[in-house]
Symmetry: none
Subunit: 401 residues, 2 copies
């Protein structure tokens, strides 16, 4: 039996609310072996007092040793096995700019490139033209008209943009047109199944019109298309868990990922404090709240250990505002580790704390990697975090008699 | 490769005997976060001295967050993934009263109900008639004769009973006849595949005859049928593990579950002391002994923390009688947790201790949830407990050269 069928069968309605606080990339590494991680070095009295009454463990985002991007990292936290539910690049890029895809849409990641007079690519990234220049070129592409198709073209960053085709019966099995090398022209978009032939034809038409429009650009005089993708097919939070779910996030990528799971995007917070304002104001209206804090990841990516420590301490300060709401299950975790030492996402498992009246208190005195490694939740795959959260909130029935 | 094929390929005969002592629902919760569980609060000198030389871990009965019923809970302990080996309700109910199903039998859970003069259900449970009254009505149903079919009708409790059809070629894909609401008549039994058409026809004939027999009953004047089910198809202990296995249990449900795995039901013990008497007497005759102790679960279900503590202390007292037999692997665990705080089964993982000359002793000083969380067995799914037991008893060969 698929785990999702089991969970969906066992879900129960209830009063208990769940808060999933995701501190992006919170897991870290000591700068020197034997030292303290960012989280262990941080002064976190509020988190530590929760650790004393809650239960901790280490969450493996995907499988041991695997470093996740934000997409698979969050899918795991939301209860979808990231090896089963794959988000195509186009869809992820669309999510990243907050484009709300509909079922049936095909999203594509576009790259501006430079071609020579023979039509061969000389620069696959069009000299990484600045975002503001690129946005102007994107604007020109909006003139493209294709019969029976709604076409969206949206800027992302530098040479990158998103194209979305909206029409009936569009398959997404179309090959990339980026040849992955210079000295050759972009490839034709090729359909890999019958259902995608219409999509390939539309992409071909889009490319022809774009090429004429871009002909006089100095750098961005051509484009390639990659990662043709539908919105991922995922059962929603409502179907799976019976939860009315809210996403409270600042950045578009996380809103997009949450919307794939059927969460409602609530408020327009710009800071952590404003996110908690939104949480408080919408407390009565939802069963589940995904609250996303970005800056632990950002400072980790910067390679700045001390600043990441500070961000963790900022997070600690708002904890009492959440506990004051008395969630039935309060889950504190991250989508992956981002050790400042590596200045990148990493494979290390993520310290995860559940506070609940049903938590079986363990021996952990603080919230942190060392403690989590010996905690009562053990080491578990992130895809099981939601069933643990539901169980701790009294929202799952018994399996079998 | 399926894990069962691996185990079956690697099984070796040997002299080492295995005792699987299941203290039903032994895992618990502190009454207040930060306090002690029932097991941690109990005075268990014998179990604690075993903890010092054995190896402990936390067993997850199904998957993280899932609360098991007794059926899936025990299937896991016996080495069958409870998400792969599903026991239908009818078969579980038959097991629960100790009815020995044969391959091909179809067991059904029957409910007496009350219908009005229009044939519409007015009470789906026939006023929960007392068990002794119900047993008399069941007796009347034994008059039902169907050509070519052996029909068994057995009382369970209150309005519940079991029907078993024994004949050749009976599929079990037949829909429930309980409409799950009042004001309508029972449904017709509908076959969901060709192989089950004969079963549906028999069920229909059974229902017609029963209706005539019950017509004059004041409450139980009709019935519904649910959970049509074959005996689960499970490889036996002999096939899988090469073990001649004994079940020593007081309650019929656990005997039924053990018999699904091909264990022999040994003795008729009525108390824990008598169970250990049976164990001693039959020691020479079997390789494996499943010993079931019920009352840790019962007192947990009662919500009685102190009485559950006492039951754990009772269990502790008989431990020396088992160690005196010198099993090669002595496994102490539960099928799930039943915290008195929740007065029900729960999802919390189960402290599990293996004592064996091959146990790699860990740092655990006592037997209990907190210790098990840091033990040498780690956190594992219950379905792997049997391979651990076999290995600790020297009964599994090497995989590959």
């Amino acid at each position: 039996m698929h785990f999702h069928k089991l969970i969906s069968d066992l879900k129960e309605s209830g009063e208990g609310k769940i808060v999933l606080l995701v501190s992006d990339g919170i897991g870290g590494l000591p700068l020197q072996p034997g030292g303290l991680t960012e989280l262990e070095a941080a002064n976190t009295p509020n988190l530590d007092s929760l650790a004393k009454i809650g239960v901790q463990g280490l969450s493996t985002p995907i499988r041991p040793g695997i470093t996740p991007g934000s997409g698979p990292g969050h899918l795991g936290l939301f209860g979808y096995d990231p090896l089963e539910f794959i988000i195509g690049r186009g869809a992820l890029e669309a999510a990243g700019i907050g484009f709300e895809m509909r079922d049936g849409d095909v999203a594509i990641r576009g790259n501006f490139c430079t071609i020579d007079s023979n039509g061969n690519i000389t620069d696959r990234r069009a000299g990484r033209i600045p975002s503001d220049e690129s946005a102007k070129v994107v604007e020109k592409l909006r003139a493209i008209k294709i019969d029976g198709v709604e076409v969206f073209v949206e800027p992302v960053k530098e040479h990158r943009f998103v194209v979305v085709f909206r029409a009936a019966d569009l398959g997404d099995a179309v090959g990339d047109t980026d040849p992955q090398r210079t000295g050759v022209p972009p490839l034709e978009p090729i359909a890999h199944d019958d259902a995608s032939k219409k999509t390939a034809k539309i992409a071909s038409e889009f490319f022809s019109q774009a090429k004429r429009i871009l002909a006089n650009e100095s750098k961005a005089n051509c484009l390639t298309m990659r990662g043709f993708a539908h919105k991922p097919h995922m059962p929603s939070y409502k179907e799976l868990y019976g939860l009315k779910a809210a996403c409270i996030a600042v950045y578009p990528m996380y809103k997009g990922l949450a919307s794939f799971a059927g969460m409602e995007l609530v408020g327009k917070p710009a800071t952590l404090q404003e996110e908690i304002d939104v949480l408080e104001k919408s407390w009565a209206d939802y069963d589940f709240f995904f609250v996303h804090f970005k800056y632990t990841d950002s400072r980790g990516e910067d390679g700045n250990f001390d600043e990441k420590v500070k961000m963790i301490e900022e997070l600690d300060k708002i904890i009492p505002r959440i506990t004051a709401l008395k969630p039935a299950a309060f889950v504190i975790t991250g989508d992956h580790s981002t050790p400042a030492k590596m200045a990148s996402h990493s494979f290390h498992p993520v310290p995860t704390l559940i506070v609940s009246d049903l938590a079986r208190t363990d021996t952990c005195e603080k919230y942190g990697e060392k403690y989590a490694a010996t905690g009562g939740l053990g080491h578990f795959e992130a895809q099981y975090l939601m069933s643990l959260a539901l169980a701790h909130a009294g929202r799952l029935g018994k399996f079998g008699a």
